[in-house]
């Protein structure tokens, strides 16, 4: 099965949701209390995905709200500098701040994030700021789950999905579940189900699909049985080091291997995975190949310091894949 994308569109992917600031520990392998210096990067799952896509050569755009300050301007400037179209990024005029993520790297496997998300500007994107014409210029609308966590961003995203479906734009839903912005998993489950059932492609970890189903220890077969009764054509479920699975509505199942990497931290793995997976679909590669690109991209990013700036070029992905083939 192949995902049919419109060929007459200017953009490959337009993402909607948050663009934030990551403050990454410069001195790491220690508790954050002992870190005295932080490096600033653009962060936030949908921003990282279009940045990653742009670095791979895709034509990408972004819909989101940024703060009216130095952090907001840095985000817009950085994204524009790597080739993301920022014409539909809106500057907040009500004093909301950019979301922050201080990353703590105690060891490659003990990473945590200290989030500043109270009244983050991205959550104030208003449905009136989502423009039909812009969405119709893209092959794909990428929706990030976190953007559903609060109003009015939630309604902005629901409107964007509606416009995408009316405009023959494929909707890709990256579950991107971040507990701190939701009031309950009941609430998350309501919106995740609603959006997943309207999307063409759904990507997430097994844990995230469990949140969508408001359950624990869910089985992939049950998940896809429910989703394939509705709009989805392709569902990708990630199982960490055990690899990932892509299921198609027509019944195919593909398994993607996780590649070994010298892990510096775990952040950014999902975003780089999604960027490379979409790249492959857009380049009309098959699903098995897309899974390989995705895993390779994730393996590269976890070995590096940031999540956005670290996004690989296509040559880097292909070089890593060649190494693995030659094994």
């Amino acid at each position: 099965m192949k995902i049919e994308l419109r060929s007459d569109r200017e953009f490959d992917v337009i993402a909607i949701g948050r663009a934030c600031i990551d403050l990454n520990a410069v001195e790491y392998n220690r508790p954050m209390e002992q870190t005295h210096t932080f490096s600033k990067y653009v962060g936030g799952s949908p921003a990282n995905i279009v940045i990653g896509g742009a670095k791979l050569g895709l034509r990408t755009g972004f819909i989101g709200k940024i703060s009216d300050d130095q952090h907001g301007r840095f985000i817009e400037q950085y994204m524009r500098s790597v080739g993301v179209d920022t014409s539909n990024m809106v500057v907040d005029r009500e004093g909301h701040k950019t979301g922050l993520a201080f990353t703590e790297i105690k060891s490659p496997t003990e990473c945590s994030i200290l989030m500043y998300r109270d009244n983050a500007a991205d959550l104030f994107l208003h449905p009136s700021e989502v423009l039909e014409d812009y969405i119709r210029r893209s092959k794909i609308l990428l929706v990030s789950g976190t953007a559903l966590a609060q109003s009015p961003s939630r309604e902005a995203v629901l409107k964007a999905i509606r416009l995408a479906k009316q405009g023959d734009v494929k909707v890709v839903f990256e579950l991107d579940y971040r507990p701190y912005t939701w009031t309950s998993t009941d609430e998350t489950s309501v919106y995740y189900s609603l959006v997943a059932e309207q999307s063409d492609i759904v990507i997430g970890t097994r844990d995230e699909f469990d949140v969508m189903e408001n359950s624990f220890g869910g089985r992939n077969e049950t998940t896809i049985e429910t989703l394939f009764k509705h709009a989805p054509e392709l569902v990708v479920i990630k199982h960490g080091l055990d690899g990932s699975y892509a299921y198609t509505r027509s019944g195919e199942v593909f398994r993607g291997e996780a590649y070994q990497a010298k892990v510096l931290k775990t952040f950014g793995a999902g975003d780089s995975y999604a960027a490379a997976f979409l790249y492959a679909l857009i380049r009309n590669l098959d699903i098995a190949t897309a899974l390989k690109y995705a895993s390779a991209s994730a393996a590269i990013v976890v070995s590096r310091h940031s999540s956005s700036d670290a996004m690989p070029k296509i040559e880097e992905i292909e070089r890593l894949l060649e190494l693995h083939v030659s094994h």
Copy 2:
């Protein structure tokens, strides 16, 4: 066309949403400043509809949250006394108050409402308080638009709709648009569209459908063209004194006449309309007859002082219809 309802269900209609207190001016035909006495009634669109249904002989139930005080207890006691099942009404434990509506009747055509809706208990119904088993015991789930205005009531309703669809329960959406509980018509439009497209029957005034479409002066033809691409089988659009129209997915159009009445006030017309319309559908009467019952019921309620207690019995509706036939 007929709406196929499950015959194996204990309840005819279960409504979800608000149950409030109406405080109706005892001395009327004057500004409220000059009213010194108010009569207390149960109010709120979905509560009125199931009360009206119960008076007509339907088996009805209600899902909603009521305040932990004298007003909340009055609501539950009254609804139970007229035969509504209140087993799934939940008592709020966080100090929220019952919504109030003071009605002002300056003249039969100049009526207004002074609302107390800040933190009204009904808007705090939580998705975890909506039980799948209960919904599956009904033929119809009646959803009121106002219940979508705020979280967590919004999510409770979205969950109820999902459960209804999974459980082969018909979803009837009464738009019931009340501007004061919404932050913007953009927001209303997002949720009204989402819910209308998932419902089997949609009922509202032309103005309310305009809100759903986030436009002015919309045409019925456009409305039904959009809705019939999705779940709806039947759409009822009311045009006040010009009567109402019922459109079926199979292409039929029915026009219902508005009956003359000695109008005391305009409140409650829509709720009594919906109650009698659903009664007729459940009794397996045809759509043309359902429109007549609905209009007759509305004509009776506007001639009386309350919106809930004034709901007619079936004999009263039939008597009024006989008078009109004999003309």
Copy 3:
């Protein structure tokens, strides 16, 4: 000891704080669930006091914020009609509603109130709406404790007290403690202490002074010892049916008897007490007499249906006192 008041002022008393609506059970001696009709009156402690004062012949004014609706207009019209100067009552422009109090009279001794105080308009009085020139036109500024419960009303009152002290206006603090508008007794205690220590006269029940002291079972002697280290000259502590005590800075103690009355309900006793007490002080009567007037006024109001409209005329107070003398 006598309280020295400026003789060159246009107003005897200007009160600051809330003016609300009481909805009193027409059918009483039963739970409110069984009451179907409510009578509307102006309510709220400081409003009642200046209404009571005006009925006794005092020249009174009011500083407060009222809703931009029928309830707000009713309040202003009623207060003006009984002679209260309403020129400094401000209409809220942000959609806040008038506070409501539904009264339940199960029996003369079992009375309770169902309050609607969420975002009540009176709590949104802003310091910029308190005018120095107006306060300086009065002999007395009457401050109600409830107005300290939330910002910005809290700051409006603190500013008014400051202006009063600068303008040689006596500050009378009526503790008027209503738990539902405060977040904690710690918070209440901070502001009650602050304001009491700056006031010239402090009036409250023993329980209210306990709240001020953030303690239980406090002794009057301790209370006055603390207060007389600061501004107060006169402290009145009410002990319900056991009567009330007035303490002066110069060491005098007066005991006022509570008069027997055919009690209909307990509401309004404190407000009518304060109105008549201030009347006596302003008419230059001695403190012992002021306590008698206060008790008589309270006895009259608890025998009647409302708290504001029921405020007695001076002849009624004097007639009741004559009856008691003749015993």
Copy 4:
């Protein structure tokens, strides 16, 4: 005139208010958009003052609320490491975050701060968390104006002042006005006046005193005339490069010179000024000398990168003063 301090107290100064994180631009003399690395320091005016005091050899303590995360723990550890008693710092259990200040240094004279103060943990200090016994162990209670900006921190500070006055602890009020945490200057003016009039020593810039007076271009003579009618014994008004003035209740006026410094940034000048000024008073030096120490301390801090870690030792202050004498 000398300020009489209790000699029988364990602490010289206990401060109450905020302790935050400063994130200072590592690459400076450029807009923050072009800064990629930030150094982390403890910040917040009252925290800086007790840190500065501790470095000068004073025995200091701190009352404040810190976040339950890496930033909160860093603050407590750092303050403890320099000798501040942190036994009365309270850990927030409701998920509030540490306030942040990103500093931008475009040039030595163009400095600005990007603040994160929404729901900052320090503003949630509750009056019940302020302990009388602790305050009574100090000679001085230092109050920072920003702690008055929101409830419940506001009430915690008002309670602390009350306890200090009852316990013969001198109250020093550092105005520390930060507009972003206040809703209006009317509100600020109410609390600044209230607290200044209850304090023994008041320190601020001329602009800050204008905020207290809710006016522009105020004169020092008017300010002190008003304040000396109340509790203050000493008022220090800073005029930037034009130096500062200390006024005593007994009528003395002292002028302190501002010392030239190689300015890196302007942050931290006020805090280092206050720390050294209090040091001198506590060491029983005269007011003229205290002004010199204060100016010298400020001159040292503005030449360095941080506001807390940069606080000078007493030898550094004295060396700078010697240089100035020898000129």
